[in-house]
Subunit: 462 residues, 2 copies
């Protein structure tokens, strides 16, 4: 049986899909510190204008530049697999497909946007990119992309991860990236924090502040900042995943998908797979589209749709998104990529519009699913990805109960070879589930209670 569906070079998508063009209600704009919408030129010190244009674009289809395609083609189109061994182990009538994004040189979907971001910056005359990284997936991907483009890359890595995951730093250095622990002495933001809390483990919020500061204060004006998730242009670049998947399913005569699943931290791998299917749903197709998050960081399933900052230090504009509050500190679960307090505005709005049905799954169930997956399908997945697999297994079991031959599709966003410690703890029985207590969430949400609120949409749902 054909368990891997590939596309030839002629079949690679040549345009990205922009969901902003099709959402039932218009996107709410980002707001500045004064509460007024910010204009594109206010972002110019941070991002190059060609990416800002993509960020605010309402065009449905945006051409992928030929030079970007040539690099993406080095590992794309990624294969679509049918999980026949997992299906058999679950004894389910469902057909389970997964898109394998673990085969990129950086091991995840992240290079899908790192490459175009580096390319657009280079086109704009930029010589250096700065960014932050938590677990290290994004810092690795941007180092990889900058290396191919001949750009410098500076990565501020959250100190606790920097210390716990030394191999991620070596990866970045092998690609020529310069990775320092954050907070660092290289920025005012970093020095301020270190003066106050010399032993701080750091946070993504602090690292973002440092990366932005390092970009905007470069006197040459040839440095910009790069973000690996959350923003509209990042979601855009990732849609190549779902566009390929649709072609692959069509190729084997699979006309209808019943369930589409992706894990969601900032939202990019989920958006990448699902947005082309969300378009079908907007056009009337019946399907369930499920972004999955950890119960420890229930941004989509429990937090409000609100305006909030992207970082703890409140340096970013206010974005309309599901948010637990910019001070939120999630428990130290192993899926570091799913520990963000906010969620992509595009994903957030699609939730409010009723197009998505988010789900939260506890950590131990996710590792159980990951081990089952490794022992049937043979791929050791990232802790983030295990949330998608756990949801796919839930859906396959439901199909069995209902006796329905459903078609389930999920995104295998990355491999777990750099994150094996979590598996070790799982085998040792040392992993815990974390559900966010109600009072703790209420306290965290106080940080956003005085910020502007997004207006109700036309269905009155916000």
């Amino acid at each position: 049986m054909l368990t891997r569906i590939i596309l030839t070079e002629d079949e690679i998508p040549r345009q990205w899909y922009n969901l902003a063009a099709d959402l039932p209600s218009p996107m709410q704009p980002p707001l500045g510190p004064d509460g007024n919408p910010i204009s594109p030129d206010m972002l110019a010190p941070v991002f190059p204008m060609n990416l800002i244009e993509q960020e605010v674009s309402q065009e449905r289809w945006i051409d992928i530049p030929e030079e970007v395609l040539e690099i993406l083609y080095r590992w794309r189109p990624s294969p679509l697999h049918r999980a026949t061994f997992l299906e058999k182990a679950l004894n389910t009538p469902a057909k389970i497909y997964y898109k394998n994004e673990s085969l990129s040189p950086a091991g995840s979907h992240k290079p899908n946007t790192a490459v175009p971001q580096a390319w657009y910056n280079k086109q704009f005359g930029i010589k250096k990119l700065t960014t932050e990284t938590g677990a290290g997936q994004w810092g690795s991907a941007l180092s990889f992309a900058c290396s191919l483009m001949g750009l410098e890359c500076k990565v501020f890595m959250v100190r606790i991860s920097f210390d716990q995951k030394p191999f991620r730093k070596i990866m970045m250095e092998t690609w020529g990236g310069n990775c320092v622990a954050s907070p660092s002495n290289e920025t005012q933001a970093g020095r301020d924090i270190l003066a106050k809390y010399p032993d701080t483990p750091g946070s993504l919020g602090i690292a973002i502040s440092e990366a932005i500061e390092a970009a905007v204060t470069d006197p040459t004006g040839q440095t910009r900042y790069s973000l690996g998730s959350v923003l509209n242009h990042v979601m855009l670049h990732q849609t190549i995943i779902g566009l390929e998947a649709k072609k692959q399913l069509k190729k084997i005569g699979e006309d209808k998908v019943d369930v589409v699943i992706g894990c969601a931290g900032g939202g990019s791998n989920f958006a990448g797979l699902s947005f082309p299917f969300v378009l079908d749903k907007i056009n009337g197709a019946q399907m369930e589209i499920i972004p999955v998050e950890p119960t420890s960081c229930p941004t989509m399933t429990r937090a409000p749709f609100a305006y909030d900052h992207g970082d703890t230090a409140k340096m970013t504009p206010l974005l309309p998104m599901h948010s637990l509050g910019h001070d939120f500190v999630p428990p130290p679960i192993h899926a570091g990529g799913l520990r963000y307090h906010g969620m992509s505005p595009l994903v957030s709005q699609a939730i409010v519009e009723g197009l998505l049905t988010p789900r939260a799954i506890p950590q131990v169930e996710c590792y159980d699913a990951a081990v089952k997956f490794a022992r049937t399908e043979g791929i050791i997945i990232a802790p983030e990805t295990s949330h998608a697999v756990a949801a796919a297994i839930q859906e396959a079991n439901k199909a069995k109960e209902e006796g329905k031959e459903k078609v389930i599709l999920f995104n295998l966003s990355g491999h777990g070879l750099m994150d094996l410690t979590g598996y070790d703890k799982f085998f040792a029985g040392e992993l815990q589930n974390h559900a966010l207590p109600e009072e703790e969430m209420a306290k965290s949400l106080e940080a956003i209670k005085d910020l502007p609120k997004p207006p109700l949409n036309k269905t009155g749902k916000w």
Copy 2:
């Protein structure tokens, strides 16, 4: 430009190629402890009879079982890449192609033989496989294959690697493999060594002894031993690499290859890529075929073609091969897979027949090549693979000097994500070259001086 050449499901090779059928002189048989050729049934306690039949087969083409193909198809055919970015960086007129074996779930070419070995054992009614592993690549691949086949897998891992590379053990466990440090208390061989040298770091030789003992002493008779390199049937299974590469080159009209390169420790990834090209050379094609080894373990470039044991404890039959002597202990270079004292009998005989031109390259040049490769082609390769890349760069530079548009093909045998420590040491300037001193080699070769010698071949070359 097309930098990745893929094959569709119809184009996967359906037969393996057996070089033994075409070598100018017949292969010399393995010898037993009495110096007489061993018969296939003498190997029956160690290997299943269907694999023993492959080991001694003189058939040129051997069908790949349909069920094996179905599993291989989960990541095969592997892509053939054109290294355009590396070519540009080297400013060479040569065209450099590489076969990418790093995309298998275990990250190397090893599953190409782990899967059929597990399958043939299962067909023969075997329930459990034992093996040894040094750096961990092979133990991971066999754990992966056994997991898909529903077999138990027991891995004896050299203690020093077991302690230094804990992540490899977690990988194996995630696939359900049981990995213990060798020497262990689970075998007589292990207990004997521990009693004598309680602090021993272990060796591949000891681990092989333990794995064979664990297989042959299982009272149920349903356990066999599995080896990841050296033997004829292992080389056979790997030829799918070169057979695919030939189809891929043909597809883009590349009719003639000038140089074929692979790193060689036990010989399997090199044989896999090169043997189908060796056949062309036997039939008159002009090309250079280069197995590459470290200068620290110069099995092919300096050691004699002789009969020797595969393990330190002399439990294996005598094999006709290039060998530094079964007591040889190479320096602790990072390419753990290239630290074996012997070499595949098939590769060894092809050397003696003048079909191959082995080359030794020192460690620092290999890491320099690996970093150049990561920063141009974007893939972080295994330390073993870096030897192939270093030789490819040497050949590309030579083509530049000669002003010739040569076609160079090498095997990217595996990624280096589990071996980043070596890169770190390289960046810190802590890596050393090791050339084997003449007197040390002479001393090591004393171990084989009283063993039988292979007879001269018809050209009088041995």
